[in-house]
């Protein structure tokens, strides 16, 4: 007969679960609403989602306040780990989701938004990501990762087009492979150390001074491959352009931000101690990954004829750029990663939204997306405002000061310089110059070419509604006036990252 287990409720510290539970409750509520009265307008679901995300954001503010006072919190049998990293990344996840969800309010009707399940899945996905970043338990990370990924596959497939199904299946297959790699990696670490907690793994490995270095290598390779898929590092990136192309533009923009920040946080937790333990080959592997991802993706982006694919490759390149922070591993680098991602979220979501407002229905079967460069030709003449805003996002992505991403790049390259990685800093700088070319290409199409006959401004902004314009305007203002909030952002992030020991 087993002894009854006695656990006091207080020691569970259930408050740590609150931010994750809010979107789950919201998702269930949306489903229940649908049970009572089906076929309601999508605006209802959008607003319900926003309300719950706002509550989630509020709960995060609460945890941020508690962290600032009391430091890192553990909860639920020490499975949950609410440290600065978890809080800042959840801010990014929830904030970007709040910017994303109003994009459903398009002018044209799209299939996926008529289902309440879309919004329910969306909220489930967010809680999955939140679980992923707020724990150092490899099993809970896996659960969060899979919850989020499975929801995301479905969300992509809901964008009822042949290409979307293809994209979803491709993403699913690759994701399944990544999940397999992940579980293998986790297994190896468990076999080595007898624990699935990252901090336990770290202390056991350090205690025996990395005696089984060969097995550690195996585990690291599996983990790196798994997260390589999630972060679309070259050569695990092959799914990314196709999936971005198949998904709706807004979803593609979302995918370039939120899933990746969640994966970055896990990678940071997992590799941080190993980078600092001075294992040379790990640094070499990461170095090669970073340089290849940045450079090759940039070169592929040069030759794209479709703006969306170009942005897909550019997102890959940005991920490689930011991955450098994991290798550098200083507090400045980790803060730079988070800051970069906040600024990138505004800019990239903005530029994908600019594609989204021009999405036409009734696409020819053979075409993957309708965002060829030609579509943007002469945009300055037909709709100057849209052209200017798009150019703004492109300049920001290229890292032209004083727009948002410049500050991220500046701080990132500075962290490479301070970490002693001079060559890497130069490679990062020169990659920004290469990237300048394809961003400029779009600007050239918009500003210096004649418009294609028969396309007036209305066709371009066909999907535009007030809510879309609000989101884009918000992103544009944040991009232009980034220099005003860079300082508070930097101080906030640095304090949180520093206090959680990264």
């Amino acid at each position: 007969m087993l002894e009854p287990v006695n656990v006091s409720l207080e020691s569970l510290n259930l408050m740590t679960l609150a931010p994750m539970l809010i979107p789950i409750v919201g998702a269930l509520l949306i489903l229940v609403v649908d049970l009572f009265k089906a076929n309601q307008h999508k605006s209802l679901y959008v607003m319900l989602s926003i309300i719950f995300l706002a509550m989630d954001f509020g709960a995060l503010l609460e945890s941020a306040g508690m962290f600032a006072e009391g430091g890192t919190m553990m909860g639920v049998f020490d499975v949950m780990l609410i440290d600065g990293l978890a809080i800042v990344s959840q801010f990014i996840i929830v904030g970007a989701s709040m910017l994303f969800i109003p994009l459903a309010l398009t002018h044209s009707r799209f299939h996926e938004f008529s289902y309440p399940e879309f919004f329910a899945l969306f909220l489930f996905m967010i809680s999955g990501f939140q679980f992923m970043v707020a724990t150092d338990n490899l099993i809970l990370i896996f659960v969060g990762l899979e919850t989020a990924s499975l929801a995301l596959y479905t969300l992509i497939a809901l964008h009822n087009r042949d290409k979307s199904f293809e994209a979803a299946v491709k993403y699913f297959t690759m994701g399944a492979l990544a999940a397999g790699f992940y579980s293998f990696g986790a297994m190896v670490f468990y076999a080595l150390t007898g624990s699935v907690e990252i901090n336990q793994i770290a202390s056991v490995l350090e205690a025996n001074n990395y005696a089984d270095i060969g097995y550690v290598l195996v585990g690291v390779v599996f983990m790196l491959a798994s997260f390589g898929f999630k972060l679309s590092l070259v050569p695990f990136h092959t799914w990314a352009p196709d999936v971005y192309e198949g998904a709706s533009a807004s979803m593609a923009g979302y995918m370039s931000i939120v899933p990746k920040i969640a994966a970055f946080i896990v990678v940071m937790r997992l590799f941080e101690f190993m980078v600092h333990s001075g294992i040379v080959w790990l640094e070499t592997i990461l170095y090669v990954f970073i340089v290849i991802t940045m450079t090759i993706a940039n070169i592929w982006a040069l030759v794209q004829t479709d703006v969306k694919r170009m942005l897909a490759y550019s997102s890959i390149s940005h991920a490689g750029f930011v991955m450098a922070a994991v290798m550098i591993g200083t507090t400045q680098a980790n803060s730079a990663l988070l800051m970069y991602w906040v600024l990138f979220a505004f800019t990239n979501l903005g530029s994908f939204s600019m594609l989204w407002i021009s999405r036409e229905k009734g696409l020819e079967a053979h075409k993957g997306s309708d965002h060829s460069y030609d579509k943007f030709a002469g945009l300055i003449k037909t709709s100057p405002f849209a052209a200017t805003i798009m150019a703004l996002f492109m300049l920001s992505l290229a890292g032209i000061p004083p727009f948002a991403l410049f500050w991220g790049k500046l701080y990132m390259i500075s962290s490479a310089v301070n970490g002693g990685y001079t060559i890497l800093a130069l490679i990062m700088a020169l990659n920004s110059a290469i990237a300048g070319y394809y961003y400029l290409k779009l600007i050239i199409y918009m500003f210096m070419k004649e418009p294609v006959i028969g396309k007036d401004g209305h066709v371009y902004a066909i999907n535009s509604t007030l809510s879309l314009q609000t989101i884009i305007g918000f992103a544009a203002i944040a991009t232009i006036f980034a220099f005003l909030f860079v300082n508070p952002l930097l101080e906030f992030i640095t304090a949180f990252v520093y206090n959680s020991g990264y």
Binding site: A429, I443, M448
Partner: protein, 515 residues
């Protein structure tokens, strides 16, 4: 109002450009002229309020931008930057006033005003990141001007211009980050403020690498041989106004940055690299002069001659003494006036004939006498005729370098003779002889709008050639402070002997008095 005059000078055109969006396109030209006249008047007020006896920075403004990372909004002018700012305001004014009929004139004027913001910003910024912001931002309007209003190869030319400069300046950015990191290591504080950096004495090996990183960014902008290949394309394809601004102001950013950053921050490395750079400068002077002689397109002649003269400016800068640096800064202004005027003049004939090929002309002196006179004057100034503005600058630059090396100066002097050859032969082809082509017989002479631009330039050319003191004196004071700073900071024997000791009081204390 003098407290914030620099901020006003920078952001007034930008604000005006925003407002210009709502103005009707038929009235936009008057609006542009009005705004740029106000801006020019403001820049004259800056000169009026400027105390030319003070060698340090004046009209300083200081606000924190990203204090956590040492980035501040710091502005200030001294004798070195003052006149280039005035020149920028002046050229934007006459550029807009003399703007010929172009398509999309509204976009053009908005772009020019935005460009003006960045130009003034570069020369007034005293924080490295702020400098970098304006420096990079200036590429965007220029890209648009070349790419949207240029010739047949405009897209290629504009991309080449942008990417070349962008790549160079990113390397420079890495250099700046290193510099800030060294400052952080030395003092425990982050700072990108230039006046803070001036106080930092770096070991020689650091200086070399940082000098090279900065050099890469500046040399492309100047442009120095062998990084000059973007410039003939940019000039060849750019519309007249684009070439004028590019030659008169944008190229000066590079040479100005040498004086502002490279020399005082890395005096030992500057001395170490003095001869290599001088040799590059002389290759640049002679080689591009020869290339200019081979051109058939008159605009390319002016473009290559412009590169050639930039070589003299670089040579003067790296003379590292008061004469050389003052001369090079004076020559920056002179070169701005003269090559700006020459590009305007080429634009005049291009508007009439829509060709720039010299064999399409000939005998224009009899058809367009006033045009020929002004062209002749500017040509003489470009060649460096005494009593014109260029002569003062060239003479001082070469005099300065003569103290460092006699042979190299002699070589550079020869180039000026080559300069005379290609310029005079171009003039001969265009203006002398019989009018052979029928179309040329009835060309109208310069009209009023063109005179508005050209007359003031002619006056400046002669006035400052005869009496350069009002400009030269403030320049001289500030340059003395820079040279003294370099002497004090240098650590090697070589540098101490190459850079003269002027036995001035510490220039930094006078900088603080000026606040």
């Amino acid at each position: 109002m003098f407290d914030h005059i620099l901020s006003i000078l920078i952001f007034f055109p930008a604000l005006a450009a925003m407002l210009a969006i709502v103005i009707d396109k038929d009235s936009i030209r008057s609006y542009g002229v009005a705004v740029s006249v106000v801006e020019f008047a403001l820049s004259l007020m800056l000169w009026f309020g400027f105390d030319s006896n003070v060698s340090g920075m004046q009209f300083m403004e200081h606000y924190a931008l990203v204090p956590a990372f040492g980035i501040n909004y710091i502005l200030g002018v001294d004798g070195i930057s003052l006149f280039i700012i005035i020149l920028a305001a002046f050229f934007t004014m006459i550029g807009i006033a003399s703007l010929t009929d172009t398509k999309n004139v509204k976009n053009m004027i908005i772009t020019l005003l935005m460009l003006q913001m960045t130009m003034v910003g570069v020369f007034a910024a005293l924080d490295a990141i702020l400098f970098y912001v304006f420096w990079e931002l200036s590429l965007v309007p220029m890209l648009y001007i070349i790419g949207a209003w240029g010739g047949p190869l405009r897209v290629y030319a504009s991309i080449k211009f942008f990417l070349y400069t962008f790549a160079g300046s990113l390397v420079m950015l890495v250099g700046m980050l290193f510099m800030a990191y060294f400052y952080y290591q030395a003092t425990g504080e982050w700072s990108f403020a230039l006046l803070d950096w001036y106080r930092l004495i770096l070991p020689e090996s650091y200086q070399f690498w940082l000098f090279l990183a900065f050099f890469f960014g500046f040399a492309i902008k100047v442009p120095m041989f062998p990084f000059h290949t973007w410039l003939p394309y940019a000039h060849g394809q750019a519309p007249t106004i684009g070439s004028v601004i590019l030659a008169a102001i944008l190229l000066k950013m590079g040479t100005y940055a040498f004086v502002r950053f490279s020399l005082p921050l890395f005096p030992d490395a500057s001395v170490y690299f003095m001869f290599p750079i001088a040799i590059i400068a002389i290759i640049m002077i002679i080689y591009t002069a020869m290339v200019a002689y081979a051109q058939e397109d008159v605009k390319q002649v002016v473009a290559y001659s412009s590169v050639s003269h930039m070589g003299v400016i670089v040579l003067g800068t790296f003379a590292m003494n008061v004469e050389g640096i003052s001369g090079s800064i004076f020559l920056m202004i002179a070169h701005g006036v003269v090559s700006g005027a020459l590009f305007l003049l080429v634009g005049v004939i291009y508007d009439r004939r829509h060709t720039k090929m010299m064999d399409q002309f000939g005998g224009l002196a009899s058809v367009m006498p006033r045009y020929a006179t002004i062209f002749g004057l500017m040509l003489m100034a470009s060649v460096g005729l005494p009593l014109t503005i260029n002569f003062v600058g060239e003479f001082l630059s070469l005099l300065g370098f003569y103290q460092q090396s006699h042979t190299l100066t002699l070589l550079a002097g020869i180039a000026i003779i080559v300069g005379a050859i290609y310029m005079l032969s171009a003039y001969k082809k265009m203006f002398f002889g019989e009018v052979t082509i029928e179309e040329n017989k009835n060309l109208p002479d310069i009209n009023k709008r063109e005179l508005i631009a050209l007359i003031p330039l002619s006056i400046i050319t002669i006035w400052l050639g005869v009496y350069p003191k009002p400009v030269l004196e403030p320049i001289n004071n500030s340059v003395e402070a820079v040279v003294q700073l370099m002497h004090d900071k240098s650590i090697t024997e070589e540098a101490k002997s190459r850079i003269p000791n002027l036995k001035l009081e510490d220039p930094r204390t006078s900088a603080q008095e000026a606040n």
